[in-house]
Each structure stands twice: as structure tokens, then as C-alpha cells.
Amino acid sequence: MFSVINKLWLMQVCFGGIAILGFSIRSNIRGWKLIFTSLGGAICWGLYLMFLGWSKSLLLSVFLATLSVCLYSEVMGRIYRIPVSVFVICAIIPLVPGSGLYYAMKAYIDGNGMEFMAKMGQTLMIAGTISVAIAVMSSITNLFRSMIRRF
């Protein structure tokens, strides 16, 4: 699992962080929060690559990376008392399947029906996996919070 950590991986993580920094400034986040949102994006992409190298499964690595980045956002949101969605919105952007959407459209324009179906299916699966991961993590935190309140 840790065998993917090398110079290339570190560069990818840095690129992910800087890309999300730009995205957060476009979403008008200010001050020290910028550091944590771009760190979220970097963690998301880095963990995705690690899980991908370990499991060789696209959907599982998307699921686990989204799950961990949602956990990170919940912790950060709790510590700094700002809405959790602020962190989640910025952090999941690298995983959103923009490339799949484009490749599917390109295959369709080229008249390659099989390729189009495969890419479109993959895009929808990734989008669904991200949604399920966000849903699971927000349910877990809700459960956790109600348990704390009870005891």
C-alpha cells in the first residue's frame, strides 16, 4: 500500500493541493481555511493513488478516499466550528469524474458506441460511489453524535 509513495506521488499530491487552492479561492474561501481545504484536496488525491496502487480497484479506491476525506472534513468542521460541507465541497473535486464525462462524449462523437457505454457507465459508477461515501460518512457522524448525546 505504501509502495506507491515516491517522488512522482509527492508531486501529484502537491499538484492536487495547488489545484484545490485555486478552486477554493474561486469559491471565495479566505484566510487560514485555505490551507486546510487545499490540504483536504491533497489528502484526497494522495489517498486515492495509494488505495489504487494497493487494491487495483477504481471504485474501491474512490470510495475509501472519499470516506477518509469526509472524516477529515468532519473533524476539521468540528474543531473550527464551520460547516462541514465547506471542506467536503473543495476536497472531493479531484475525484469528480470530469474526465470520464469527456471521454464518453468523445467516443460518442467518434461513433464508437461500445466505448461510449463503457465510459458513461464508469462515470456514473464513480459519481454514485462518491455520493454513497459521503452519505455513509454523514450517517456515521450523525449516529456518533446521537450516541454521545445519549450517554
Binding site: 501529484q12 499538484f15 492536487g16 495547488i18 489545484a19 487552492l21 485555486g22 478552486f23 477554493s24 479561492i25 474561486r26 469559491s27 471565495n28 474561501i29 479566505r30 481555511k33 488525491w45 466550528r81 464551520i82 460547516p83 462541514v84 460541507s85 465547506v86 467536503v88 465541497i89 473543495c90 472531493i92 473535486i93 479531484p94 469528480v96 470530469g98 474526465s99 464525462l101 469527456y102 471521454y103 464518453a104 462524449m105 468523445k106 460518442y108 462523437i109 459519481a127 462518491i130 455520493s131 459521503i134 452519505a135 454523514s138 450517517s139 450523525n142
Partner: protein, 266 residues
């Protein structure tokens, strides 16, 4: 009996909700914040119903007086700074006026104090335009590197991102709807990348286009759709899902028509 007039509190609560909803907040958070404002100023008996396009708020005083307000939401933007600032403000209000009531060390937040802070948040200056344009270049540039592009592709994607951000900003003045803006944006991205591929050569235009498309993907809509649905707000969740699907369809339409046009003409 509260010392604040019931209509003033209702207006203030609905103004708070409007500010957050127009900045792209989740509806269940908006309901929570409005509840905090009303109970913070002495009306714990309140109900609110928030959809993406309107806010309904009803407050009942201890004497049995009822005030109901409806607010239509017209504009949608993304301003995560405003969401977090208002969230912090309402949490402070709730802490000072409800939970620590009677504690000598804490003075309750007054009505004017809250109003002044809300006005400050409302008119807080956004980033200057050139910073946003620059970030519109940084994001596609680094995304194209992230998806396996070279440094040449980074440069082209950077310039393309800045140009597309400027054009989209100009188009926003024309009040086009979301579908058209995203379709035009995706079309411009494909056109610019193909032009660069034709005149500079030696590059993978796909990586540039994907980097540019990441600028438009509906990340906020997906996140809010799921989190709203999980919080039990099915109406807002469905609406956000439809928004996400529409934006994705718009991107696909814009990119696809430009690809086809390019294939026909060149």
C-alpha cells in the same frame, strides 16, 4: 416575554437564511441557523421550511402572536466564506443567549450587535477580479498535470483557464442560465484546446480539455444533494441532484457539439 419585536426578529432570521442560501448553503443548515437566531432572541417556538428557491418561516410568541414570512430566492452563487462566517455568528448567538444564559461572565449578544455583524458579513469584499481570474488559470493547469499532462499542456491549460474565466464572467452579466453558461464554457474550452493543438502541436489536447472541465464540474451540487438527503430534506436533495445532472449534461453538450463542429470544419 421577549424584549425584541417579533417582526424584527423574523426579518432578521429570514435575512440570515437568505444570505446563506444564496451563497450555496445546505438547506438543513439554513433551517438550523434560522432556528438559532429566533430562539436566541427569545422565540423558541418557531418552524421553518427551506427549499432551494424559497424560505418559509413562522414564529409564535409566548403571548400567542404568530408572524409568518416568505422569501423568494432568485440568485445563486458560491461563496463559502459567507456560509462559514454566518454559521459562526449564529452559533455564537446561540451560545451566548441560550446555553450560557444567566452566566455572569457572558453578556448576551444584543439585537443591534447581531445586525451589525450580519451587515459586515454581507458587504465583505470578495477577492479582487484578477486573483479570481488567475485562480481560474491555476486550477485547470494543475488538474491537467494531475491527469498526466506535460508542462507544455500545463501552460496551455493555464492560459485557457484565464481566458475562459474572463469570458464566463462577461457572460454572467447577461444573466444567462446555468445550462447555457456551462455549455458555452465547455465549448470554449474544447475550441481553445483544439486551436492550441493545431498551432503549437505536439500535445495531448484531451488532458487540457479535462483540466478545463474540472473548472465547471458540479462538485457543490453533488455534495449538497447527498448531505441534504441524508439530513432528511428530500425536496432539496432531489433539486440539487437534478441541478448536478443538468450541469453535467450541459458540459457534455457543449464539449460534444464543439468536438463535432471541429471535426466537420477542420
Amino acid at each position: 416575554m421577549s424584549e425584541h419585536a417579533i417582526n424584527k426578529v423574523a426579518e432578521l432570521a429570514i435575512e440570515t437564511g437568505r444570505l446563506v442560501l444564496e451563497s450555496g448553503g445546505e438547506t438543513h443548515r439554513v433551517e438550523e441557523m434560522m432556528h438559532n437566531v429566533c430562539s436566541g432572541f427569545g422565540y423558541p417556538d418557531n418552524e421553518s421550511y427551506v427549499t432551494l428557491t424559497g424560505i418559509f418561516l413562522s414564529i409564535k410568541s409566548a403571548a400567542g402572536e404568530v408572524v409568518t414570512l416568505i422569501k423568494r430566492i432568485e440568485t445563486f452563487g458560491v461563496d463559502l466564506d459567507k456560509i462559514s462566517a454566518v454559521s459562526k455568528l449564529t452559533l455564537d448567538l446561540q451560545k451566548q443567549n441560550c446555553r450560557l444564559k444567566g452566566n455572569k461572565n457572558f453578556v448576551p449578544m444584543s439585537f443591534d450587535d447581531y445586525n451589525r455583524k450580519l451587515e459586515l458579513i454581507k458587504f465583505r469584499k470578495p477577492y479582487p477580479v484578477w486573483v479570481k481570474m488567475l485562480c481560474g488559470g491555476i486550477t485547470p493547469g494543475f488538474f491537467s498535470l494531475l491527469f498526466g499532462g506535460s508542462w507544455l499542456e500545463f501552460g496551455v491549460a493555464f492560459v485557457m483557464g484565464v481566458y475562459v474565466s474572463i469570458i464566463l464572467r462577461l457572460l454572467a452579466f447577461m444573466h444567462l442560465n446555468k445550462f447555457l453558461i456551462n455549455a458555452v464554457g465547455a465549448g470554449l474550452i474544447v475550441w481553445f484546446a483544439q486551436m492550441a493543438g493545431l498551432h503549437i502541436g505536439q500535445m495531448n489536447t484531451d488532458k487540457i480539455i479535462i483540466g478545463g472541465i474540472m473548472l465547471l464540474v458540479p462538485g457543490l451540487a453533488i455534495t449538497n444533494a447527498i448531505r441534504d438527503t441524508m439530513a432528511g430534506d428530500l425536496v432539496a436533495g432531489t433539486a440539487r441532484t437534478v441541478e448536478a445532472i443538468f450541469v453535467a449534461a450541459a458540459i457534455a453538450t457543449g464539449a460534444g457539439s464543439m468536438l463535432k463542429l471541429w471535426a466537420l470544419l477542420v
